[in-house]
Symmetry: C2
Subunit: 256 residues, 2 copies
Amino acid sequence: MHVDLAPYRTFINRLAIESGDFIRPHFASDALAVEHKSDDSPVTLADRGAEELLRRLIAQTYPGHGVIGEELGNDRPDAEFVWVLDPIDGTKSFITAVPLFGTLIALMHRGKPVLGAIHQPILNQLLVGDGNTTTLNDRPVRLRPCADLATATLLTSDPLNPAKYQNGAAYDALASRVRLTRTWGDAYGYLLLATGRADIMCDPIMNPWDLMALIPVVRGAGGIITDWQGNDPVNGESIVAAGPDLHGTVIAALNP
Amino acid sequence: MHVDLAPYRTFINRLAIESGDFIRPHFASDALAVEHKSDDSPVTLADRGAEELLRRLIAQTYPGHGVIGEELGNDRPDAEFVWVLDPIDGTKSFITAVPLFGTLIALMHRGKPVLGAIHQPILNQLLVGDGNTTTLNDRPVRLRPCADLATATLLTSDPLNPAKYQNGAAYDALASRVRLTRTWGDAYGYLLLATGRADIMCDPIMNPWDLMALIPVVRGAGGIITDWQGNDPVNGESIVAAGPDLHGTVIAALNP
């Protein structure tokens, strides 16, 4: 079955605008209270409120669709169409007043991510990909060419996670071979990759709500996205994204 | 001699507004060419043009003052009043479309920094400090209380520099003891520290144009700023900034 994505693209624009308007006043606000969840990750009323708002808009517009969200759980996860939501990917960045977080929105059709979006509401950047094309504020974008680690920019979200969840020594060796390495991560790291400002993004741990939106975005911009070992990322718990001339080198370096 | 800083504060506001207006259109612009200087650090016409603009405004307004700038050298560095300029501190961040860079402006009087400013022109945040008071967009700010490494956020500009220029193992051991560590560095890291969003900022190498503006900003916000070994930072080549309840612990950890 062919899915006409055009109406969903329009709808994603609306989701991004309305959730962005909700999140923006809480950014760098001294009044925002931070709680810690059972896994010690932080959460705020901006995370919960943005997810409620997204769920309400989806239920109004597509009452038959399912929803999976980071903060408020699963609602009909086996529906033909399911939205996967992370209202604020990078809450640590958000609560530190660093605008590298983003809202992740994916549309799954029969278990496959067919549309993904990364929205950075402070910088007003909306990236939408369908696996074939990725646009930033409606203008097509691509990864930049990069075939040599010595000229590459490598990003990761948390500098301590490679050692914690994968092979830290291999990651450090990779980091010592690139031109630039930074923790400009979370959602914005993938936006930088897909728009040709960075070359490699590695994240050792990922949940479904962190993951699904990234796949059509990275592929639509001409990139390769796998787990840490080079396998299909959909069922994995890690992400390695890079261009076709570099991805194999990165996977080899991370798995010596 | 008492120096009345009020007119210089007003003038710094003007420098920030005009340099910000110049820099902003070049941010995330595909048309911006990047050159590499003799030390392989990147530079763009935004860096050079912003410094030219700042120097022109200073020469028009205070023709007797000296200027020291990253891109265009020294002009009467022995004058009673000397402006120290880094038009874009964090050029790597700037050219990657990451809004963590900043314009650093210091006013020196008889060799001492009496006024410092950090301006982030994409987020429109202007931090100005005189050693007694620091304001963010004219509102007073302070470091947040933090006496325990286990609850601290630690920032540095380049994750590879502690090992390159100081003691990498000691830095890594410190990083493993804090709640959060990130390379949200360059100018914005000090802004986060002074506004109570981060607790420790470490930079192993610093030039005068990276350094002078930070001293009155951090002290004005209630922080302690020294070099890596705990000495006066003015003549050092590194920075460790933190609140009074944490700074000694950090220096001890970095120099085991």
